[in-house]
């Protein structure tokens, strides 16, 4: 009796789930539209429209609440296996482990758009929240909120119409196919997508602030600091996401590589490149108000448009790739939105172009940090253009010639490796050159040790390691050069501080970084970039691989290793069938651990999904993939790869994340007051200057570095 009633109640609840989610998303759409209007009115009225400002903030919070409800509802539906919801019927399965059931929230189109909306609503609410206490009406922020809400409205529209995850499924199936096997084979799938969305979606915020500054007519003051902070945050997440994605592909796809210039990779990489360019060029404007302003605005706009374009390319199925899991009308919505955003941004920039100035800068010498940043921007922009062209070219060729062509890794490597090498060189040169320039002799002295070190490493790689490729030699040499040059900044800074304060080395270093978070956060990020460059260069230069079919007891020998095949095993799991090989690893004849590469057979996929086994050490990885096997266990075909220094790619990603965190960390109140006091021309948040006594007391408390 009781059981029957409970089941009936449960069924009623199930049919309600979809309705709740759909209503929440529809309300989010209505609220974002209202918020855009309220914020626009508030922005126009300025300080007179206090109530409107508050109302727009309220709308932003409400949109976030609606997205939280919708996202929670979807997670509930997934976990409860509510197959009356279409999305659950598409990606759910009773046999999928709970962990992968939850993360299948972003495993297919509709869910990933929902999650996108959730992250965007979170950022929107945070931006709105940041303006809650400003004494004067902060029109720039209010317009930024309006911009973000407009983007929110677009994604809500997608969720209401073409990508409705809460659409009902009828008849209700008893079970579903489960998520794409590739996406439920590794826990990194729980890490990479959220980071990617935090980074990708986060880049809407700098765009919103740029638009806000232009609309509010505040582009001549203070837009840059807020924009730069948000860019740093999003860029940090995006960096971590890209590296986590590389790691995932290394750990899952089984070919021993981590980057294939796949369109979906390019889509995440292009905004990263332009955001990186902005992080550098914005420093010029931060120091010299007005310099490069128009260019900086263009970079921010381009970055945002590239994120939307990337989403369009990967979500509309216009380019086929592993990740492009759909085809449908959604592509037209995206195209329309991109066109609107492009026209809107260009119009706005053109309308304000006369007020944006012509970047009247003064330099004492061409050998200056400003000039290095210009070259850095030139290379990063050309890099972006190359990747964009290569990614879109197949579409162009098909449209013009009617012939399908591929633009793949060989093309991208050939075109971009020289650019990467040049960037690596700049990473070493930039930190040494002071702003505005100096006499070349001083720069040469600072670069003496790094140059000698770089030269030694380059020569060593040729003579001792037998490297013959010009770019590989340059990459190793410049990596050493850049590492020494950035390390030199830490050493010199710490030494100077020790002389002044008498602190211990570690304390002086910690305080040095704390007092100049921007600068040293940047250098730490440089170290991460160098680490990644070394990992990539070494693993592609010194990679050794061997493929062999072996019987039990036989070994595949490669470098110092022997990988002995012992036996084959198989295991039935609820959602898959797993075949694995037990391997014993010998390094120089000594036992050095065991590996078990596996092949996974999912019910829903005819292709086996590989789980390579990796023995990871700081010096490099031993990577073994099980390619094939005899059913009776009499033999296994193994692909064994030695990949030197690969772990330094992942470590480098973490170092960059740390650098971004340090650079983006909010300044303490005291330090902010001091900076305001030191630079009377500099603006403060909300435009209000701190009272003099506060500054004096802050200075007295010894916050001066």
């Amino acid at each position: 009796m009781c059981g029957g009633r409970a089941r009936r109640l449960r069924m009623e609840a199930d049919s309600v789930t979809g309705a709740v989610g759909h209503t929440a998303v529809a309300l989010a759409l209505a609220l974002s539209c209202y918020g855009v209007i309220a914020a626009a009115v508030a922005g126009r009225k300025g300080s007179a429209g206090r109530a409107w400002h508050a109302s727009a903030r309220g709308a932003a919070y409400a949109v976030f609440l609606m997205y939280a409800v919708a996202t929670f509802t979807m997670v509930y539906a997934l976990v409860a296996h509510d197959f009356s919801v279409k999305y659950v019927a598409q990606v759910g399965s009773r046999s999928t482990p709970l962990f992968f059931t939850v993360i299948s929230l972003w495993g297919a189109l509709e869910g990933s758009i929902l999650f996108w909306g959730f992250v965007l609503a979170l950022y929107t609410a945070l931006v709105a929240y940041g303006g809650r206490r400003s004494k004067q009406a902060d029109s720039q922020r209010t317009y930024a909120t309006a911009t973000l809400l407009a983007v929110n409205a677009f994604f809500s529209l997608l969720l209401v119409k073409p990508a409705n995850p809460f659409a009902p499924e009828f008849p209700v199936p008893l079970d579903g196919p489960g998520p794409n096997p590739l996406l439920q084979n590794h826990p990194l799938m729980a890490v990479h997508p959220p980071l990617l969305y935090l980074g990708y979606v986060g880049l809407s915020v700098p765009f919103a602030f740029a638009v806000g500054a232009l609309l509010a007519g505040r582009e001549d003051e203070g837009w840059i600091r807020e924009t730069r902070r948000w860019t740093l945050v999003a860029w940090g997440f995006l960096t971590l996401a890209i590296v986590a994605g590389m790691w995932w592909s290394y750990e899952v796809l089984g070919w021993g590589g981590y980057w294939a210039w796949d369109p979906v990779e390019n889509a995440s990489f292009m905004p990263w490149l332009t955001a990186t360019a902005f992080l550098h060029s914005s420093m010029v404007e931060e120091r010299r108000p007005g310099m490069l302003r128009l260019w900086n605005l263009c970079l921010v706009v381009a970055t945002f448009l590239l994120t939307i374009l990337g989403t369009f390319l990967t979500r509309s199925g216009v380019l086929l790739s592993v990740h492009a899991f759909t085809r449908g009308p959604i592509g037209y919505y995206f195209l329309g939105f991109i066109a609107l955003a492009l026209i809107f941004s260009l119009t706005l920039l053109a309308a304000r172009a006369d007020r944006l100035g012509r970047g009247q800068g003064r330099l004492d010498s061409a050998v200056s940090r400003e000039a290095v940043f210009l070259v850095n921007n030139l290379i990063l922009t050309a890099f972006t253009f190359t990747v964009l062209l290569g990614t879109l070219f197949p579409l162009v060729a098909e449209a013009v010639r009617g012939v399908k062509v591929s633009v793949g890794a060989p093309f991208f490597n050939r075109m971009t490796v020289p650019l990467c090498v040049a960037l690596l060189f700049l990473v070493g040169v930039g930190p040494v050159l002071p702003w505005r320039g100096i006499q070349p002799g001083v720069a040469a002295r600072s670069l003496l040790v790094p140059s000698v070190g770089g030269l030694a490493v380059a020569l060593g790689s040729v003579l001792l390691l037998g490297v013959r490729d010009v770019y590989a030699v340059l990459a190793f040499g410049f990596a050493a050069f850049a590492l020494l040059s950035n390390a030199r900044e830490f050493v010199e800074g710490t030494r100077a501080r020790r002389r002044a304060t008498g602190e211990s080395w570690s304390l002086a270093l910690a305080r040095l970084v704390r007092a100049n978070r921007h600068r040293y956060g940047g250098y730490i990020a440089h170290v991460g970039v160098i680490s990644i460059a070394i990992g990539i260069s070494a693993s592609s230069t010194f990679r050794q691989e061997r493929e062999a079919t072996v019987r039990p007891g036989e070994a595949v020998e490669i470098g110092p290793f022997a990988v002995r095949f012992e036996r084959l095993w198989a295991r039935e799991e609820p959602h898959r069938f797993v075949v694995g090989a037990d391997l014993a690893v010998l390094a120089d004849g000594e036992p050095a651990g065991r590996l078990d590469p596996r092949l996974n057979f999912y019910n829903t996929s005819d292709q086996a999904i590989t789980t390579p086994a990796v023995r990871s050490r700081a010096g490099g990885d031993l990577y073994v993939n099980l390619l094939a096997f005899e059913r009776d266990g009499s033999s296994a075909t193994l692909h064994v790869i030695i990949e030197p220094l690969v772990p330094w790619i992942w470590i480098g990603g973490g170092i960059i994340g740390l650098g971004a965190l340090i650079a983006a960390w909010p300044e303490g109140r005291r330090r902010r007051l001091i900076r305001a006091a030191r630079r009377p021309g500099a603006d403060e948040e909300g435009g209000d200057r701190p009272p003099a006594h506060e500054v004096a007391s802050a200075v007295a408390h010894g916050a001066v570095s």
Partner: protein, 148 residues
């Protein structure tokens, strides 16, 4: 431009070629890294895997890619040039099978435009830096930061 080969592919070949000098004492099996094997790898990394998007048949672990790689090996062993082997695949799958679009006709755009953009940008940078470092003329504050 032909000098600029794909880095990983060439390096791989070089690494393979350099290895005997390192004194490795491995038993030469059927998969020994001979010149043929190196040439096969070089070519295989330029041919697209038909099933997996974006990977070359050198990188792809799929069965079909292995068979295609075997075809390359056999044809090279039979004395065909790499260009002839490529043509063999293009005849069957179309230009699409090459990861590197052949540099002719419209495809030239994809090679030339990036270089042009770099050169054009370089001119802009040079002009800007020259303007910024030009000694000041008659009037104007040295710190002409903001625009008019």
């Amino acid at each position: 431009m032909m000098l600029i080969r794909t880095l990983p592919a060439l390096l791989l070949v070089l690494a393979m070629a350099a290895r005997p000098a390192n004194g490795s004492a491995q038993t030469p099996g059927p998969a020994a890294d001979s010149a043929l094997e190196a040439a096969t790898r070089e070519l295989a990394s330029q041919i697209r895997c038909v099933q997996c998007q974006g990977l070359s048949i050198q990188d792809s672990p799929s069965e079909l890619s292995k068979e295609m790689k075997q075809i390359i090996r056999e044809q090279l062993a039979a004395g065909r040039t790499p260009e002839e082997v490529k043509a063999y695949f293009v005849a069957r799958y179309g230009e699409w099978i090459l990861l590197d679009p052949p540099a002719r006709g419209l495809n030239l755009a994809v090679y030339i435009l990036p270089i042009l953009s770099l050169l054009g940008g370089a001119v802009v940078v040079v002009v800007l830096v020259r303007r910024w470092t030009r000694p000041l003329g008659d009037a104007g504050a040295p710190d002409a930061g903001a625009g008019p």
